[in-house]
Symmetry: C2
Amino acid sequence: MNLPPLVQTFVLHFGEMGGRWGVNRTVGQIYALLFVSPQPLVADDIVDALGVSRSNVSMGLKELQAWNLVRLQHKPNDRRDYYSAPDDVWQIVRTLVEERKKREIDPTLSMLREALMERPESDYERHAQERMRVMHELMDMMSDWYDDVRRIETERLVQLMKLGSRITRVLEAADRFNFMAPKKKKPTPGVADDASSDRREQRPGGDPDEP
Amino acid sequence: MNLPPLVQTFVLHFGEMGGRWGVNRTVGQIYALLFVSPQPLVADDIVDALGVSRSNVSMGLKELQAWNLVRLQHKPNDRRDYYSAPDDVWQIVRTLVEERKKREIDPTLSMLREALMERPESDYERHAQERMRVMHELMDMMSDWYDDVRRIETERLVQLMKLGSRITRVLEAADRFNFMAPKKKKPTPGVADDASSDRREQRPGGDPDEP
DNA sequence: CCGATATTTCAGAAAACACTGAAAGTACGG
DNA sequence: CCGTACTTTCAGTGTTTTCTGAAATATCGG
């Protein structure tokens, strides 16, 4: 690997972090390299910069494409594939959250949905299923929330983040004015009607549970 | 492993997911088992339930403690360690986010902070550093946001999540009324004063950048 | 269709990681 | 202190993941 020190540090760090982020070292490094590169790179540039095998780069790029983290483009009279990392860092965050949700949340949600349809055969199972119900309720809510929030434009999202916890003050005001109408909830699949999980949507006018 | 089918599915699933969540299979399984268990368990219970070695359980429990995901307690006249998973699923989410931030965000933030203090020696490095600055700005903002939001009580958080994207409507109203005062920003460490990154706090009265 | 240039696939080598059993460590009651 | 009951550590082994080089596949201009 022969890179300016600043870039080298960055690339190596992403390599190490890669592991924690669910990709391997090379994938992390390739991404870091593309991220700081002023122009798109071809696979062989990456080989030279990182000192890994050509095939490894090929697989890494494939994975980054699966994660939607790199863009592939071409130049006239050149049939090599040029790769670059999109400029918009917010887009990266969205992509990352999206992909992790898909890999880490969704499978568990569907496992839980199925488990909740089983008939418990013992007190132990009954208790376990109750715990699963609570977990499902939470994850389902977060999943809905994400599907909802992802559609907010970046500008507004930034505004919201800068607001931080002061959002609660706005909320208090909203409480008083009763700004918001209740949201239509998607039908809860596979959960018996008597489930205590969606008491919250039974009548209009927000959530009187809250003081 | 000899568990009721419902529990077994759950435990095995968490074992598989463990990998994606940054812990190994055994740790995932132990946590799942504790989560559905009606009473606290001792290490040997876990050995019996999961069919893994005693030492593996010991290491797994140690890791779960490092993650703050299990509680250790004792019973009178019994010096074995009893472990349980806290009931409050929201607490679990908070813990998880907290720990992942600590492991996945904070190290990168400090690497970036250091990189931004270096003097670029070439156009390439100059460009790379600019990219790092943008990334740092984003991560720093998210980090601040999290530090801020984590202190909101669960009830309010639930309320906010149920509101989802409708929060923007409340925001629009807030825009008009100019409800929120600007937040005091912590001093940006290591970044030169001329950094364009905190234009936002220079004068009171919210963010006139936004239309 | 051929030769040149690019990319992908894949079997096996190398490296990283998880798990075990044996041994060492700790804490308590007598 | 000694023995017992319990927990932790760690070197070695087994398993999974990553990486490589060689071969296969694809695409283009002529």
